[in-house]
């Protein structure tokens, strides 16, 4: 009897393995519709490290599901490995059966946890086939445990053995089918195979290499007429693979400010739309939340048909603030922002159909090198009485202050003036570029106008190349990000710091002459700019500044790397896609919830967005203004 079961298990194992391989071949054919990508097959060996370090790092933020996943996946992998050894290779060793029993029990425990989560699932989780998954996992683990038990028990079960064996086989077959067929048929378990391969062939290999965050957009080869992504088959094959890794956990959906504002963008659905396009069809199996306002719309996808206009409404594309909250949260390390920008690039470069004021802003950038269409000579008008030297070719300065577009905003000019006062009080040698400073191209790039970005970046690098300075300081995180992370591949390398970093250092060195403590300071909270916090990982410097001037910050629930966007990023305040709420209003609610009387900001755009919130609300103050208020002079 035992031997018949053993042979059956051997047969079942190889049947499963064969089905899985066939499925993988089938799915790989879909991925290979995409463009070539420069990733080597050898990357496969990086999977264990990336799984246990990079992926687990994100999953561990939800300890419950992390434990459940370790138990289920660890148990399942162990059961499969032992089955491969013991039954696949027909060793039939009782010792391995014992181990398999333990592994199956571990998996069973995990599956129970997963089932418990599914009892009252959070709204962000997809239902449908995903609700079946805990049952499949339970069946498989029970089947595995039972099979191992029977193999170990010899004849102890007597006549019941035959029935139990059949039960074990049925459990293993039904549960195992989820894995074996998942990848081929696009079921939930495809995430296991696609997810592991995605870790190896991730489109951003630099994400896994050490300390630098990989947040820079990659340049398009415009000379080769690469205008971004129009059809699913225009994605690189490893991008298509990455979409298949999605587990529909909805972490991205829960973090997305556009989704919360009721704008027609759900990042989870966006990724599933890409899957629908790649696999062709209408995505009927999707059982998660829709793009807001688009419930029940059925759309056809095809690998060789345009995505925008068919599968996706253009409004979905233009709702994104490129805040990266979704990417930060995604346990499968999927890159939503890259996806959005690739699609935007094609729309903007080939048809120019940028909604709202986006078109006007791009025309201004092309014609005047400023977003608002201002004369360049006016950029430093606010500094006219502050004695900031305009750097001349041949001269040298320690610090080059770059004000960016905020220099044209009368509100932000107060912050810039405060910054200059502090830097001067600290004795830094600061100069500005005056009327030769063009825009850095951030807005153009996020709106998909790579041509204008590259043109502005070239202009900026030419300009900077003509001047001599040690370091650049800017209060604009977008300018900071461009100079620091996006110019290097184009050939511009600069030592650039955000003003919060400079201020923090100065305060810590005691270089800023401060008044003795004055009146008690009002309760203050701090709003992290996405392009400083998430794009550059800099959440510490602003807080060191507060410490330096004796302000205790009341933190918001969404702060630091989890901060919520103000709504400006990615040109979203220009494209201005209507929703049910405005993102800055929601952010102001976050601020109010702390009970703070003022909110500190460290970005010209956050300043503008939060200052734009109407009605009674906490005061908006810039970091530099807070420091300037404590100056002893």
């Amino acid at each position: 009897m035992t031997f018949t079961l053993a042979y059956a298990l051997t047969g079942l194992f190889w049947l499963g393995a064969a089905l899985l391989s066939l499925g993988l071949v089938r799915r790989a054919a879909l991925w290979r519709q995409g463009r070539a990508a420069p990733v080597a097959l050898g990357r496969l060996i990086t999977i264990p490290k990336r799984y246990f370090v990079d992926l687990h790092h994100v999953v561990a933020r939800d300890p419950f599901i992390a434990k459940a996943h370790v138990a289920v996946a660890g148990g399942a992998v162990a059961v499969l490995a032992l089955a491969a050894l013991n039954y696949g290779l027909m060793l039939y060793l009782p010792a391995l059966d014992a181990l398999m029993l333990l592994a199956a029990l571990l998996m069973l425990a995990g599956a129970m946890l997963v089932r418990a989560r599914r009892k009252a699932p959070p709204a962000r989780l997809s239902k449908g086939a995903w609700n079946r998954l805990p049952k499949s996992l339970l069946l498989f683990s029970i089947g595995g445990a039972l099979a191992a038990l029977l193999a170990l028990s010899g004849d102890a079960f007597g006549t019941a053995a035959q029935g139990l064996a059949l039960l074990a086989l049925a459990g293993l077959a039904l549960g195992g089918a989820e894995l074996a067929l998942g990848i081929g048929l696009g079921g939930p378990m495809k995430h296991a195979v696609a997810g592991l391969l995605h870790l190896a062939f991730h489109p951003r290999q630099d994400r896994f290499s050490g300390d630098k965050r990989s947040t820079d957009l990659k340049p398009l080869d415009l000379a080769a007429k690469d205008y971004g992504v129009e059809k699913p088959s225009d994605f690189a094959w490893n991008r298509l693979l990455s979409f298949d890794a999605c587990v529909q956990c909805g972490k991205c959906e829960a973090a997305c400010p556009a989704y919360a504002a009721g704008q027609p963008l759900n990042p989870k659905k966006l990724i599933q739309d890409m899957v629908t396009g790649m696999a062709a069809g209408s995505g009927p199996a999707y059982a998660g939340n829709p793009h807001p306002g688009q419930a029940g719309k059925v759309r056809q996808g095809d690998p060789h048909q345009p995505i925008v206009g068919g599968l996706l409404d253009p409004e979905t594309l233009w709702s994104c603030t490129t805040c990266r909250a979704c990417v930060e949260e995604c346990p499968m390390l999927i890159e939503h922002v890259d996806t959005v920008v690739s699609l935007r690039r094609h729309v903007t470069l080939t048809r120019g159909e940028v909604p709202g004021k986006g078109r006007e802003a791009l025309a201004n950038l092309r014609d005047t090198d400023t977003v608002g269409g201002y004369p360049l000579a006016a950029r430093y008008h606010w500094a006219i009485d502050l004695n900031v030297p305009v750097l001349l070719p041949g001269e040298h300065t320690d610090w080059l202050l770059m004000a960016g577009e905020g220099a044209f905003d009368m509100r932000y000019q107060r912050a810039l003036r405060a910054l200059v006062k502090v830097l001067k009080a600290a004795g830094l040698k600061v100069a500005v570029l005056g009327e030769v400073e063009p825009d850095c191209g951030d807005l153009a790039r996020r709106l998909g106008d790579e041509a204008t970005f590259q043109q502005l970046a070239g202009k900026m690098m030419d300009t900077l190349g003509r001047y001599r300075f040690n370091r650049i300081v800017t209060p604009d995180p977008h300018l900071f990000h461009c100079l620091k992370n996006e110019y290097p591949v184009l050939g511009g390398r600069y030592d650039v710091e955000h003003h919060s970093q400079v201020l923090a250092d100065l305060l810590e060195r005691g270089a800023v002459p401060l008044k003795a403590d004055a009146a008690p300071l009002p309760a203050t909270t701090y709003h992290d700019p996405c392009y400083l916090g998430r794009y550059n990982g800099e959440t510490d410097a602003p807080r060191r500044v507060f410490k330096g001037i004796g302000i205790k910050v009341v933190e918001m629930e969404r702060s630091g790397r989890k901060g919520r966007c103000c709504g400006w990023g990615g040109g979203a305040s220009f494209t201005d896609i209507p929703g049910e709420r405005r993102i800055p209003d929601m952010r102001m609610d976050d601020i109010r919830a702390t009970g703070a009387e003022q909110v500190a900001v460290a970005c010209p755009n956050c300043t503008a967005m939060l200052e734009g919130v109407v009605g009674p609300r906490p005061e908006v103050v810039e970091l530099a203004e807070l420091v300037a208020a404590r100056l002893a002079v």
Partner: protein, 257 residues
């Protein structure tokens, strides 16, 4: 709507950006181009023409806005371009151009000279253009929201108002795919322009009333305390109250019925 095989010529010229002074597209020329693209139906039947001394890059904006080819008639800066253009587009049935160009020789007089050379009627300041059989009907822009319909038999010269049709959005791909074709330079006699300094025409605004802003505000609003000149109506049924409102609106010529 467009008659098949209608031959359309669009005249464009680079403008000077009011802030940066760089060459850019002119909204009226862009509107003419957008109309031309719509009416010609295909780029073979559309000639986009520029006469002047500007560099090719200055015309790139029109390529980005949908012109697949801009033909350049290189001339000296001060050349009289009307006869040259007329010779170039003699076989076009519909000639479209901006009411005035933003630079070069495309003054507001040029369309009239051109119409004279071509012996064709001129329909100025079009907001929309429709082809009906062998004739053209336009809606003409007039100040203060007024409009007028004009019609003429083909061939016709139409100048286009900048608010006629939004230009096609700027597209980098179209710019790269489009071409600038330079014809052989032609010698032309210089235009007879006489330059003289323009006089400053100051037009002082006359305030309708000399009262302070606060006083005028009090005159316009109503309150119960009688300090304001406005009226608070509390008596009467809704019809009577509505009548008071209507009288007020009629008094101030805010409704005309």
């Amino acid at each position: 709507m467009s008659t098949p095989m209608l031959k359309v010529a669009v005249l464009v010229a680079p403008a000077i950006h009011p802030v940066s002074g760089r060459p850019c597209t002119h909204p009226a020329d862009s509107a003419a181009l957008a109309l031309g693209l719509k009416l010609a139906g295909s780029s073979e039947r559309l000639t986009v023409l520029y006469a002047g001394a500007a560099a090719d890059e200055a015309l790139a904006g029109y390529l980005a806005q949908g012109a697949s080819c801009v033909t350049v008639l290189p001339t000296a800066e001060d050349a009289d371009i009307a006869p040259l253009l007329a010779a170039q587009i003699a076989d076009a049935e519909l000639v479209l151009c901006g009411t005035r160009a933003g630079g070069g020789q495309g003054s507001a007089l040029l369309p009239y000279q051109l119409a004279e050379e071509l012996e064709a009627p001129l329909l100025p300041d079009a907001l929309s253009v429709a082809i009906k059989g062998g004739s053209v009907e336009i809606e003409q822009f007039l100040p203060k929201g007024q409009r007028r319909s004009l019609a003429a038999a083909l061939p016709v010269v139409v100048t286009v108002h900048e608010r006629a049709t939004p230009a096609l959005p700027y597209s980098h791909a179209r710019k790269e795919a489009g071409k600038v074709r330079r014809l052989m330079p032609v010698a032309a006699k210089a235009a007879e322009w006489r330059y003289e300094p323009g006089g400053r025409r100051a037009r002082p605004l006359v305030a309708a009333s000399r009262a302070s802003g606060h006083e005028r505000m009090l005159g316009a609003i109503a309150a119960d305390d009688g300090k304001t000149t406005g009226l608070v109506v509390k008596q009467g049924d809704p019809v009577e109250k509505a009548q008071v409102l209507l009288d007020y609106l009629r008094d101030h010529q805010l409704v005309d019925f």
